[in-house]
Symmetry: D3
Subunit: 277 residues, 6 copies
């Protein structure tokens, strides 16, 4: 009914699913909780919020269910300054959920996903004016979670990566392997499809080894990845105790992320802000 | 692995789905909430809990997802004294959810169901030793929500009603019409299937008219229902302002539920405790 | 450092101060509280949020202190979809505060303002590209609270009203008399300055009598206001028990706001949504 | 009025007092609290809940005051799957209370007991069909707290230990010394009375030394205990920093409890789950 | 060890027990609570706090257990400005408790007392320099709850009333009948003992009839009380719906307490502020 | 209207500003908070509360705004036993505020002051009977925050220090440097004015170097301070990791504060209780 919104220009365009996160207060277990704290989280939207807080014009595209749960996600994105005007609102749909239980030692934190059949799992070509959005954006960010949500998502991610690169835009991709959503064969196939179009590839060291089959570590691993896939920038996130810590291989030069002592407030948070050169 | 549990004798056997209820504190709206209060609710389990609190030996049978969310439901039932040993635990399944928003005037309270694909929606013959359970129980209670969840539930409810009556047990049925789950044609068909087996039929006056097509009101309506379907007991729940209030037609005699002034703490609660003669 | 933001077109432009509201939970008194609930409120921003929720492109302009308290206000406005890109951020400034205590009978609710010396109290010509903003907007909304904040605010409101009318834009003004900020002489003088430029004037019946000196009531009062000041639309809000309720005099025709039974959740809320013809 | 409940068979039978625990949230001190979090705790019931969670059929017997406070304890036990049908409900009685204050260093956590004159302090022979319960159970667990509550408790514990052993049941006893309830002479006398009947004896290393007068440490201590008292199994719990940690001496063979890094969520928790061979 | 505190002069001296009140938030029932809100309440201390808030120099004397629970009571009294320097601190003692459950209709609110064996129940002659305190005070207030706590309290109240009157001080007495603490015979006997010494007697109409055996109502009842017992001032509190409301008979003249519409926040609160002529 | 209160004798007299502290629960950031926890804090009042808890008769003098916010501060002081009868209540004034955000690493905790134009910032000669208060007190405590609040405060602190010393009272002074309120030149000038009158001077090692220009450390620094300024007692507080820790130089003799392991509950707390010899 309303005319399609005009497309402003963006520094940064991303797309994907965002979940409602429900978690008990403090160190309570899920099965003893009387209250859930409500949060909002999704790999791509987290990145978009951080960039918006840093002053970049960012857009996030997704499918959200009409109604209050979708509005929680949309409102949180907007509160941080992310442009959500290209979100498509779906009637009678559900929002993906995630139940998070903190895990003070010797327990592990655990996440219970309840995301099947969500509105976002069917994100596809018809949901947004993708070519125009790409044309209006300087960079495009994708993650390996999205193609694992379903066939329309998989086709979309491959297409957007290819199309953005063809339009001369810089494309980044976070492997973000989730064993509950996909398997290593699919994850590798997806990466093969997008790799030729990437400027920046972000991957956890343990996934580079377990999913992609590398045997190197640290700097050698970053170089092996760049060699095999050919992206100019490889960001390798490493587990907390590693020395050195997170590594960025930029056009052949190794750079190290600074290390800070960290008190953990909440274990679920993006590990390394994107800062490609 | 464990042997099947022994079957004690029960005063009251019921079955059906129970949802986790998530609602914002106080009069907040869902889309401004930061916290959800956690509750547990299901038409049949609510009845079972009340009867257990009154000292009756009650059993509730269902399917629950393995893990903490299923344990919340199970634990709450047990806390009230309901026997849950015949609940079947399903791996990798989901629990039905219900988001409740209170509705101070002029808004209406509203309920957002997210119950599709739940473990309980596939409850069926293979989930419990139904014949033995019926044999061990004095009464069986069913509701019209269960058959609306899916074909295996529908077949099960029809079978349990028939089988219990054949075994000489008293069977009750609460129409409990939910427009979001079924339509009036199906609801009537289901009632037709179980009606011959019922001792007690519970129905809201507005559903008796809108779903079952009656045109009478109050006492005349109770009598018309008893005449058409032939149960000895008809409990007619009526809207808060009605005079007289809830009506029980017992073997041709009209009895009235006592009326109390009520301060509403939470609009979602069973309207009338079962008290068949 | 950043270039000035581009100006999109707006359905609705407004400006003014927004306060952080701190109030104890439930019916606690301020001096027994251990917690304050945080809210955000300002006459003009409330209107802007409602219109944004209804799908209008709205902008709100103000001065906010740099830092987290200003970000709370900005984030809440954006969450509702209000464009805040023309807010001016002021270093080392303070945000106006309001402490609210609910007043179950026989107490009255009370508000303790702590808003002096706030960043917004010095809003003025130099804070935004007013002419360009007016040119980009279909309607402009002002309130009588803003001119009472200080001389730069007073001059700004007079100028914006005059300038918007000269540019052919529709201007609305809510008298919103606050005895703690101004007196009746000033309030009348301010209204005299903006009245010739207004399409819509919103006023509470009790203020029309106590502040503007009218002696009529209800429809006669709306007509007397329209006659004295000459605006095409006069919206008269009336106290809860009045019969009839809120009145809109539109080009000589009287219209009545619908009446609903209302359960009070929070006494501080805009009385009547703007719905100019 | 109701007939006595039938006795099913149990893997595990225990008895004793359970207290309502009231503690301020977070690290607040008792005298600055505005809220108490409600918990339920008792040495024997804690063990019963853990075993029920692990799938064992467990029963806990006690005296509880009629009314809501007793129901909190009963409901929590049932929620975990513990059978409470042999709890005796006492009119006009009180529930023992415990006020817990966390103690971040350099303060110590402290517990304020208010348990005198409780319903459970008079637990005795007449409260349950002890012989039949013992006959129906594979194992019986007792603790040194119960005999310290009063003379009827002391006589009961001695009798149950003796009677269970005579019936060929395995009996365990946790010394659980509480200086606020008893003294070392009494604690030793009680242990002397039950020791000949025990399969498993659980004791903290510091109590073995301070209460029972041993001078050995670690493995040598476990062996000295087994030698003096003659039980086949001795579980020795040791303070957090000790190397090795908790020790089980089983028929002359030493076994060590695995050590995990632990983040403390709440200092009051059973130190070592029972796992007799 | 410390010297006895000096005695300043007081407008108002009172004595009695104060309980810690534990109640679930909102409309929760005690047996479903996870949190208790902590309050402090006692008939005499409530009066003392109100008078201190109105600027009177007031002292409250009692026995409190050493430790944090006693300090909660003491701190709350001091916060309101009541002088507690003559409270006697008792080691190893307990504080009386009261569990309060709100009662939205059709339930009744209920109070579960757990006050036996409290420190205050043994208040007596040796706990304070009563003669000197009376000499330093203009008025003394007593209630019928105190003598019902035990024999030392009963003797103390009788003595203080007599001694204060002999010293020319004005004495007030609130019958405050508690069926859980005493019976009507004792309550009447206690009143007979103090009545000759009273200036003001406060009594609920229903207690005047049920406890004291009067058959009159309203003004006639106040006059009958004054006639039988001979106090110059009789304050008669009446149930909420009565017309007229609370009555003060002052030296033969009837005065009525003003009536206000009241929204109930918490049903437990003093019914009528003392305002003797 | 009321006569001035009588002056009892005090062990300890102090004066200064106290702020309302608002902080989000747990580790939340200010700009994501929905609730603020309310606290009360001021350098001098903190000391007074500790001494009152230890049994000393202490008085704190200040200016507080009439109304509930002032009463929160006053009530908290009285709850701890501090005498506030000489606080002056100011109509239409504001209370200083402080917003506190916890700072888990790598963030720093931060404090946002909103204290300008507060009632206490104009504390001066006319606000209390200073000479009489000094005469009634054994010791007087002052801090370097107060003179930084404004000219009347500065004059008052200088006068009280001089006057107390002249009357033979022991005077203590905590430098308490706040870069947001003053600069090092002013702080040194103020210290020069009060130093000749001091028995005890409390200063953080980093301020002794950065503000007062010393170059020594630890014991040598304490001695250099005593030499330059001539007070008999110098208390030097040192940063948490230092060896040795806090130092007291008492009449030439060095004493060390005991060191405890500390779990941080709240970073804002007085570092070292006053314990002058």
């Amino acid at each position: 009914m309303d005319p399609p919104p005009a497309i402003p220009s963006y520094d940064f365009l991303t797309l994907g699913e965002t979940l409602l996160r429900l978690s008990p207060p403090g160190m309570q277990r899920l099965d003893q909780a009387r209250l859930f704290e409500i949060g909002v989280g999704g790999s791509e939207l987290n990145v978009a919020c951080l960039l918006a807080r840093l002053g970049r014009r960012t857009a996030w595209v997704s499918r959200l269910p009409e109604g209050p749960l979708g509005r929680i996600v949309d409102g949180e994105a907007r509160r941080h300054g992310v442009d959500t005007r290209f979100v498509r609102w779906i009637p009678d749909a559900r929002l993906g959920l995630m139940f998070f239980e903190p895990g003070p030692a010797p327990r592990n934190a655990r996440v219970l996903y309840d995301r099947k059949h969500s509105a976002a799992a069917e994100l596809g070509f018809e949901d947004a004016p993708w070519e125009a959005l790409i044309a209006a954006s300087a960079r495009v960010h994708l993650s390996g979670i999205t193609p694992a949500l379903g066939p329309s998502c998989r086709a979309l991610v491959a297409h957007v990566a290819q199309s953005a690169a063809a339009a001369g835009k810089k494309v980044s991709y976070d492997l973000n392997y989730r064993a509950t959503l996909t398997d290593t064969t699919e994850a590798r196939a997806m990466l093969d499809a997008v790799a030729p179009h990437l400027e920046l590839f972000v991957v956890a060291e343990r996934d580079a080894r377990a999913v992609l089959g590398f045997e190197e570590e640290a700097e050698a691993l970053a170089e092996a990845i760049a060699t095999r896939y050919g992206m100019p920038l490889v960001a390798l996130t490493r587990s907390p105790g590693s020395e050195p810590g997170d590594i960025l291989l930029a056009h052949g030069a190794i750079r190290y992320a600074p290390r800070y002592p960290v008190e953990i407030v909440d274990r679920m948070a993006p590990a390394m802000p994107l800062s490609a050169g």
